[in-house]
Each structure stands twice: as C-alpha cells, then as structure tokens.
C-alpha cells in the first residue's frame, strides 16, 4: 500500500502553497440545526464547562450549574430536536459523563444528563449529527503541510483554516468550514438514524429507563449492529467522492485496469489491473464505470469470480456485468458495492423483532436446533477452499 506516500505528496503541496489540500470534495459531516460548542475541564473534583451556541454568548459554569448552562443552550432530552456537540478535545465527553452522573433522577438536570447520555451513545456514529470532534473531522476533509501528529492539535487546524478565535466560539466557525459545500451521500440517512435514536432515547427517558445502568444483551447487540451498519454506509459514502477515490487507489479499495470483454453468455470481462494490491477477491460484488477513478460515469455492476497474477499483473474476472460495460481496451474502475440503507434498516428491524420475541433463540439464549439438509457438492468444495 502506498497511501502514506500519497498523503505525503499532499502534505508537500499544502506546505508549498500554504493552504490545506482537500482530501474530499464533499462535506464529511452534516450541517446541523443546533450545534453547541463545548469544552470541559476539572476544577478540583468538579467539572467546569465552557459552552456557546449560535446566537448565545460564551458562558462558563461549574458543577450543577454547568448542567443548567447546557440546558439553557437546548441540551435537554425534552428538546424537540437534538443538539450537536462540537468539541476539540477527546476529554470533553468523559468529563460531561462525569458531570451527568451528578444529576439526581427526576430533576431538570437529569433531562440534560439524559441528552449527554445520548451523545455518549451516538459519539462513535459517523456523520456528525450527534458529536463532532473537530480535529478528527478536519483530518478527514483536509491535509495540512504539517506532520500527522501536529494535526491532532486543534491549534493546527485553527491556523490552517484561518479561524482566529481560539475559544469555544471558534469551534462554531470551524464547524461552518467543515460543513460547507455538498454533503457526502448517505449523510441524510445517517442523520435520520441519529434523530430516530434521539426519539427512542426520549421515550426511554419518559418511561423511566436509567442510562446509568449497563446495557442489556439485546440493546448491546442492536447497538453493535447499528454501529457496523453506519460504518459500512459511511465507508460507501466516502467512495462516492472523487478525491477520496484517488487516494483509495493507493489502499487497494479502488481498482483500475484495462478491460477485455470475453463476449460469453456469462457476460464476463477480464480486467488487467494497474496495481497488484487490490482488496477485491472472488465473491466480491463490485460497482464500476468506464474511466479513471476520479471520473463520474454511469455505473455497471458485476461479481469478481477469479483473481490471478499473470506476467506480473493482477487480472480480475468480472462476471454478470450489467449496465454500461467497458469495451475492449477501455480503462475501467471498480470498487466493492456498498450496502443499501433500506436493506440495513429492514435487517435491524428483523433483528430487533428477534430480540423482542420471547421464544426466539436469541432471547432465550438457547442454542438453536440444527436443521440438516443435503448440501450441494459445489458448496462443500467452496467451504473446503475457504478453510
């Protein structure tokens, strides 16, 4: 893989021109209606919060007053829509959790604590609807002319993105920079899922559910599945960006080569790849187009059915090519086909139903009864190959 050297080339360009180089031509996080910029630190054993939101001045409070400050900025589970946490330190959320744990149940502070719990639950979902760690989001969108270690420092990004305010209000400006331009695809789907999760959190809070307790098995399993789905969807969204694809050639996630259609009934095309480090394997469902990785063109779909190295070149056999297939000698680009958000949602709904059903083997914890059937020889051989 040569992605590190690719990044280094971008760093040299940024260092020479003095402006950050874009990694993406789309916004990696969604613009949100209600951002709240927060920093937190410990004052003795108490948590001090400094926060602001658009139209509100910067304010600072400690202990229980800090929860009231956040509530005044709309951070409450009773709000009509969730607030988005903007921060530039990894310590902020753990400190907010510590603050939330001080709230007594049934109080107004508890409503704010429940919103903080929603942030904690959704922090690792991509898309930026619940929590945005600005240095991470900036690294996704740009490269500076500094070494990677310097980019973990929020001051680096303020300098390169010309944000003069080093207080929490500067986080709001940084967020505007991050969300400028068209969104990556699927961001709206990820935002809808976050908003749906906020509604669920509101209902659970109203029903007396206590976020302080560890998750039950079903909730933990559904959370894991939701996170995997969101990560898969976001990975696919990134592949829709031409600048991201230019780099993904160097990680093997995007493959380019010269097409040679076989003209048979299986609609096979052999692709002689420009590089050996493709991550696609037999069985991979792929999406492709005629042209270079950064081009936009109508897509074809296919399945990789063979991969072999001939005379030092990787050759992939694509079968069942449907759509505008490449002609002989044309350059084609392919990558793994992404998930369907609708199928993901349907899958999670079924999964949830299995956990809700009292007699499901998932709920009872019993090992399911094996069902036996004849297995085709091809499947057995494929299974043996996989081992």
């Amino acid at each position: 893989m040569t992605a590190e050297w690719f990044d280094l080339g971008q760093r040299f360009r940024a260092a020479t021109t003095g402006v950050p180089v874009a990694r993406l031509s789309h916004a990696p996080i969604a613009a949100t209606p209600h951002p709240v910029a927060v920093r937190a630190h410990l004052s003795g054993s108490l948590v001090t919060v400094t926060a602001c939101a658009p139209g509100n001045p910067v304010a600072s409070s400690t202990g229980p007053h800090a929860l009231a400050l956040l509530a005044s900025l709309g951070v409450t589970i009773t709000a009509s829509s969730p607030a988005t946490l903007l921060t530039d330190a990894a310590t902020t959320l753990p400190l907010l959790r510590r603050l939330a744990l001080t709230a007594s149940r049934g109080t107004a502070e508890d409503d704010t604590a429940a919103h903080i719990a929603w942030w904690l639950d959704r922090a690792d979902f991509p898309g930026g609807r619940a929590v945005v760690e600005t240095p991470d989001a900036c690294r996704l969108r740009w490269v500076t002319g500094r070494a990677p270690a310097a980019e973990t420092n929020p001051a680096t990004w303020r300098h390169w993105l010309d944000v003069s305010d080093d207080g929490v209000a500067g986080l709001l400006t940084l967020h505007q920079r991050l969300t400028a331009g068209p969104d990556l695809p699927h961001l709206s789907v990820l935002s809808e899922d976050d908003t749906w999760a906020f509604g669920a959190a509101q209902n659970q809070h109203a029903d007396g559910w206590d976020w302080r307790r560890p998750d039950a098995t079903s909730r933990a399993a559904l959370g894991l599945r939701s996170r995997c789905d969101a990560a898969d969807l976001y990975a696919d969204a990134l592949l829709a960006d031409p600048l991201y694809r230019a780099r993904a050639v160097h990680t093997g996630h995007v493959v380019t080569g010269t097409a040679d259609p076989l003209g048979d009934r299986l609609k096979r095309t052999r692709l002689t790849c420009a590089r050996l480090d493709a991550r696609l394997r037999p069985g991979s469902e792929v999406t492709g187009w005629v042209g270079a990785p950064t081009d936009s063109a109508p897509h074809f779909s296919a399945t990789v059915t063979a991969a072999e190295v001939e005379h030092g070149h990787l050759t992939l056999t694509l079968s069942g090519v449907t759509g505008p297939a490449p002609a002989s000698g044309q350059q084609a680009t392919i990558h793994a086909t992404g998930p369907s958000p609708y199928r993901q949602r349907a899958g999670r709904k079924s999964y949830r139903a299995l956990y809700a059903a009292r007699r499901s083997w998932l709920t009872t914890g019993r090992t399911p009864t094996p069902t036996r059937r004849d297995v085709p020889l091809d499947v057995l051989v494929a299974g043996a190959d996989a081992d």
């Binding site: 050297w5 040299f12 031509s25 680096t156 068209p182 600048l243």
Partner: protein, 67 residues
Amino acid sequence: MSDPATDLTEHAARLLVGTGVDAADAASIAAGHLPADSAAARALRDGWTAPDTIPPLLLGRAAEATS
C-alpha cells in the same frame, strides 16, 4: 508547536526509509520537478496532483470550505 518545516521533513524521512527516495528531494519529486521512477515517487506525485485530476467545479466546492 515545533517548527512546521522540520516536523514535515522528519516525518518524510521516516516514511521514505528504504524507498530509494531522498527526503530532501521528495517535495521536488511530488511537484514534478524531478522524475518519479519508483512506487513511492509515483505515489508522492499522485498525492500532489490529486486535486488537479477532478473537475474544477468539484474542486471549487472543496476550496469553498477553506475560503
């Protein structure tokens, strides 16, 4: 913060060990002033030129965020 030029040069030197590309020449190779005749050199060049390979409209959108 450390000196930006120094930290980038040190980072480049670490990444380019064993590639045959001298860290002092790497920026010139990336910019196209010296030939790119190895995998590392071609990747450097690809990184430098990536923004030039996408349509100006999209590049304008990317630049919009930093202006």
